[in-house]
Symmetry: D2
Subunit: 309 residues, 4 copies
């Protein structure tokens, strides 16, 4: 019996190898077609042609595979061929670790982010007054924290909530940070404000609600200072990585990612910190990854010490 | 240019057809292997053998497909072959509309569920007293509602919450329902209580928390009365359909499904009624599908009139 | 025994009424404080003062209420007082049905939206060519659909995906719509593009990814044409309503809401259509509410006929 | 101006203190009422009486608080009073750290779980053969892992998937574990199988799908061996803690909790490991808390080293 099994497995292996060859021949042809389409400016993905091919194949399908199974397998093959064409074109995402195996190191006023030494960022939700900022800055300095965050433009759920001090807030932040020798991070919400940011702060933050505000991402891609990109409130990691790519492809390779919790049904925390995002983002991209414990849990009584290996 | 495109497409089509042939030959062999394994009692899914095959294929891969793409496509082929073996065995899900194109009609004391006339079910969350039940029963009768629900065994989040009147509750329900000529539905939570249910009520309800309590599903599969299966609090439709299959495959084809909202982040409603579940379940299965608006929204001020077509 | 119960209940009622009086006196004082703060430009919410009051109260708490319970109740009282101050200021949300009981009716080239007759909107995901637009427009006209949608600026997850034809797309849309006598809807993604929109299209669409792009909402608030606001991918209804408020408070009362499904774990549909959102939004706001079945389910085989009452 | 503010704040404080006194008097009376109800066997929560009280209060409400605000505050007061009555009765959850400040230590064949030294558990998803178990057991022993897990009763989504070897599996697990001096954990799915478990294994596992199978929890409460309770697929922490309470209140205080990821929209991991659950569960309960990284991520390439402090 077992001999018969071995014989059948041998046949299977032979078919696999034959199919591998055909698959790659197919891919070469698809690539040629892609190049022609590229030159003619026609979209590579052609759902009508795919539909016709699938109909043809199911018409010819002798079984035992059901038509649905045949369709499913060929769809995967079509998709892989298309991916190959897209891959040729874009090579790979610029943020991908396959594209750049070594970590991106970002220098914020002499502080290196993305290497082996951890970096702490702290500061008030909103910039409110010089007094407030000086109290915080003094405490940060004493605690050895070198990067101060503070919101000047506050994206708020309600139009009636305090929207931040705006440019005045940025100015105050800069003044106090300079006094205490701290670097600064502040959120920017309008594509027209990038130059303003370059003047007053050291790092542009793009908030969770704006993670897929592509016009803002493109503008941040033209900034000369680093960008801290927060994961969207319910963004997938796939979407997060692509949002970072928008910034990099538009010219700014100084991008840091920050996991800040995702929206789930759980009520004991404000958001659910998706801790697995950290090793996955480190693995898939070469960008520095930070964790925002405050916003993710919404609690003062939860702390972590996390080490990846 | 366009001619060259046509020529390339012709080549592509030829390869597709060649691959279709190989795929089906492969499937035949996989099926034979499956039968041998079946006889020997070895599991059909063999991840180690699959791993070896994938390693072999990537070693031989000439490109342009990346190894990952090759692995991905072959995994899909392996999976389709395995599905085919499983399909041979189970044919199809018994609850599937492919298996039985016509609607399952369930008779509850002369009321037909699953056909074209809508059926309303109403009643108190918990059975509390004769007085309560009689008040409700009279109101239902007047409103033309013929099926009364009432909880006797209450699965409660906290062990300190009222757990229902148990058997006494079932008895009270039966007595009052008989007085008013109503049919009854009540939840059963222990596999040992099926006989009890057959004695006192007309339909066994399996609650959302027990949708994947497979021992209870198997027991309900041996009941002689219909089962109303609630979708789990965060169950996928895939899981829901398979939970119904557990009951049917254990002998009871009288199963009704009920969409009762799923757990999401939204706070204005207790659960999010997944209305698309209704047409999808009707399309994929031949079972009657009900909607529980009360539990899904947790509000008295929301009503729907829904008609599917 | 029952008499004693009645006596105790009488006492309870008396305390309730006494507390009601104190609560309202307290509210009057809080309101006065709010007005002073308003004049002085200090934020009304003062977490430090609240903390001190709570500490004081728990210090004085004789029981039997645990300190946590005392804190919880007083936090609710503080919050209600603060809400009262905010309410005074904003009166109520402008979009609220309490503020305006009658439905907002929006006129799109003679088609009234928000009243009793249903309005259908259809059209291609992206504007691609004149030929495509004319084929669609002719079909819509034949089917009696009077509003055509078509994307010219496409917010796409990947920077390498087709980003739309931009201004050219808007021009093409206008030209074809004019030929066929249709009204048009198209998405705008940059706050600087509002004037452009006014020139070419009849309704500005703000997409799900931009629902909390507040700078875009503010700009749309200055548009002279209606805005169709899509619910964010994982936005709560609370956030959705407030996003609409941003547009209205910035000057544009012509806002339509559209439920397009929310992100959940379910995989048989692309998004989960939150059908309960429709009656809830109609109840809480006076704005027209549309449903996007295509994007929510991501399937061609699911249809609904929904009537609210 | 500021003096006037101080004066108003003084008045506010006086009202707060007055209300604190009334609240506690009210609580005493509510408690007395609760005791009477307790003796009479009537449920303490009386929604109709609450409704009447709220109607009365809104009728008498002079403002400026809106009726809704009055209702909301009083509902919170009613709820706190009810909680107090329930608290009196149950004192507190038995699993609560307020009830027992020191950690529960569980002894599994001489291995202490719940203290400061971490404990690793590993083993196959399903028990398949002696050969498989011996290979795993030898590897575990070599790696210093002292507790082996292995599934004999497998709750599977589809009734056609391998359901485990059942009792034979438990026997095999015991035999091999004894040979290698390992402790064992295995899942039990039927309330009638507790005695069986006591005979063959060292720890009963209750799986995610059965976290709210209260009949199984009650049965596990009568077991003489420890229970490892997995968090439900989409269970809140509140529900998880109460599920543990079911076991403890039925007599078995040897309960360990295990976070295994929750169901979210994210697709790069099978489940989203809710890491914040670990410190929160340690804080709220005195039970040992484990983390299942394998099931939460569904990936072999993600590891954590987590230290709580």
């Amino acid at each position: 019996m077992s001999e018969h099994l071995d014989e059948l497995r041998g046949k299977l292996d032979a078919i696999n190898i034959h199919m591998l060859k055909l698959l790659n021949e197919r891919a070469e042809i698809a690539r040629e077609i892609g190049e022609i389409k590229e030159k003619q400016g026609i979209p590579k993905f052609d759902p009508i042609r795919e539909g016709t091919m699938l109909d043809e194949l199911t018409k010819l399908n002798p079984g035992p595979f059901k038509d649905d199974a045949v369709k499913h397998i060929f769809k995967e093959i079509f998709k892989a061929s298309l991916d190959l064409q897209i891959e040729d074109h874009t090579l790979q995402l610029l943020v991908s670790r396959k594209k750049q195996p070594e970590n991106t190191l970002i220098d914020i006023k002499g502080i290196s982010v993305g290497g082996t030494s951890p970096v702490l960022v702290a500061g008030p939700c909103s910039v409110e007054s010089y007094e407030q900022l000086r109290t915080v800055a003094a405490a940060l300095k004493e605690a050895g924290v070198k990067v101060m965050r503070g919101g000047a433009f506050k994206p708020r759920t309600s139009p009636y909530d305090f929207q931040g001090l705006g440019i005045d807030g940025l100015r105050m932040l800069k003044e106090v940070a300079d006094e205490y020798g701290l670097a600064t991070i502040s959120e920017i919400v309008h594509p027209n404000h990038i130059e303003l940011a370059e003047k007053y702060i050291d790092v542009i933050q793009i908030g969770a609600r704006n993670m897929q505000n592509f016009e803002l991402l493109k503008a941040a891609g033209q900034a000369k200072i680093p960008v801290l990109l927060k994961r969207g409130i319910a963004a997938t990691l796939e979407e997060f990585v692509h949002a970072a790519e928008y910034i990099v492809v538009h010219g700014n390779s100084q991008v840091m990612l920050i996991e800040r919790g995702i929206r789930t049904y759980e009520k004991w925390t404000r958001n659910t910190l998706d801790i697995s995002a950290v090793p996955l983002l480190k693995q898939e991209t070469h960008l520095p990854v930070l964790v925002d414990v405050t916003h993710s849990t919404g609690r003062k009584d939860v702390y972590y010490l996390l080490r990846l290996f």
